[in-house]
Amino acid sequence: MIKKIILFVLIILAFKSCTKDDICPPDTATTAKLVIAFNDIANPNNTKNVEVLSVITDNEDSLEIISFEVTNEIAIPLSTTSDTTNYLFKRSIISSSDTINNIDKLSFIYQRNEEYVTRACGFKIEYFNLEADLENEGTENWIQEIIVTRDTVNDENSAHITLLH
């Protein structure tokens, strides 16, 4: 009896010291990305693909987030350390002979809130009072109108911003 119990105790202690390290599971809702939908300027309720779209961060070490994609919805990260995130939205019309690039500058302005997630994932950012600002180039802009549909970025379920083009 005593030996069985000792064995039981040893087994429990062995398992206790082997509990696996906490890692942040990939499906945990951490900082949400900004979801942008592209709709038709002629018919704002209809989606319209951008041919071909690239999205690049507009800062010192510019990084390509979206690279030459034909798409009508994208999700891009916002800065967790600043209240403004600047992006370059590049539309490339590629023909057999030439590639015509049109770059529009977009700024996303918001306020940030830090929220605790879990011990393994730390904290996340909730963005609120979201606004989008397009640098006006007159007729040179390929993005024609910006509609903010949801001004709180806390999930990626549907578009926060719709761009008409």
Binding site: S17, T30, A120, G122
Partner: protein
């Protein structure tokens, strides 16, 4: 290594105990007239594992006092009082918890002793209560995106006046190593009943309860202690055992 040493010690003392029992059995002729002297009273003790961890583990300090009292032949009222400080570091969070706790409940001795022996295999239940404070030392915003790397934010925040309640199941072995002196080892399974959570943070560690888990209300723990029985009462009773 630090965990093995106390277990070994306890095992050794237990085996010595059993050998002693066997020897005694051989020499003794069991008759129904052998008087059995039972002593009982208040048993007080300290946890040995916690001071040991205080010495060798960085970011931990703690102690625990315990006492039990025999209520009936098999049941003991039991209480543990303790204090713990613990640093908790995760890749994205670093925190410090400190506070005191009390556990009250009972132990049931499931072990049938040989004549005159005072060993025990105990099954116990406790109600645990802890009052503590927690400090969030630093944290990071989680990101898996290389475009906007995050940095650790050092902005200490203190959350005081926190408390937690839990229920605890204890499985333990006690053995009398010398007269009235007991060594015991136990494992504990706990389940949180309620807790006050700090605003926009969580209790990563609760004194007495041990670490918490993100998706579970359960906790585990262990104890290794030495205790002394103050024999207040002595009772002589005639053995019930029938000779074979």
């Amino acid at each position: 290594m630090m965990k093995i040493a106390p277990i070994l010690l306890c095992c050794i003392s237990l085996f010595c105990g059993t050998h002693l029992m066997v020897a005694q059995n051989n020499n003794e002729i069991a008759t129904d007239t052998v008087p059995r002297i039972e002593k009982f009273g208040i048993r007080v003790g300290v946890d040995l594992a916690k001071p040991l961890r205080t010495l060798i583990e960085d970011g931990y300090s703690g102690f625990e006092l315990m006492g039990d009292f025999r209520v009936t032949k098999k049941f003991y009222a039991a209480v543990e009082l303790g204090n713990e400080k613990k640093d908790w570091d995760e890749p994205y969070i670093s925190s410090k918890t400190s506070g005191s706790y009390a556990k009250i409940g009972f132990d049931y001795n499931a072990y049938e002793n040989w004549l005159g022996m005072e060993n025990a295999i105990t099954l116990g239940l406790r109600y645990g209560f802890s009052s503590f404070k927690q400090e969030l030392l630093s944290y990071r915003i989680y990101t898996d995106n290389p475009a906007f790397p995050t940095e650790t934010i050092y902005d200490p925040q203190e959350f005081s006046g926190l408390n937690a309640h839990w229920a605890e199941f204890i499985l333990g072995i006690k053995t009398e190593i010398v007269n009235n002196l007991y060594l015991s080892i136990n494992v504990q399974l706990k389940r949180k009943i309620s807790e006050t959570e700090p605003e926009n943070f969580a209790n990563l560690y609760i004194p007495g309860f041990n670490r918490t888990y993100d998706y579970s209300e359960f906790g585990v723990g262990y104890g290794y202690s030495i205790s002394y029985l103050i024999p207040i009462f002595k009772k002589t009773e005639v053995s019930q055992e029938k000779p074979e």
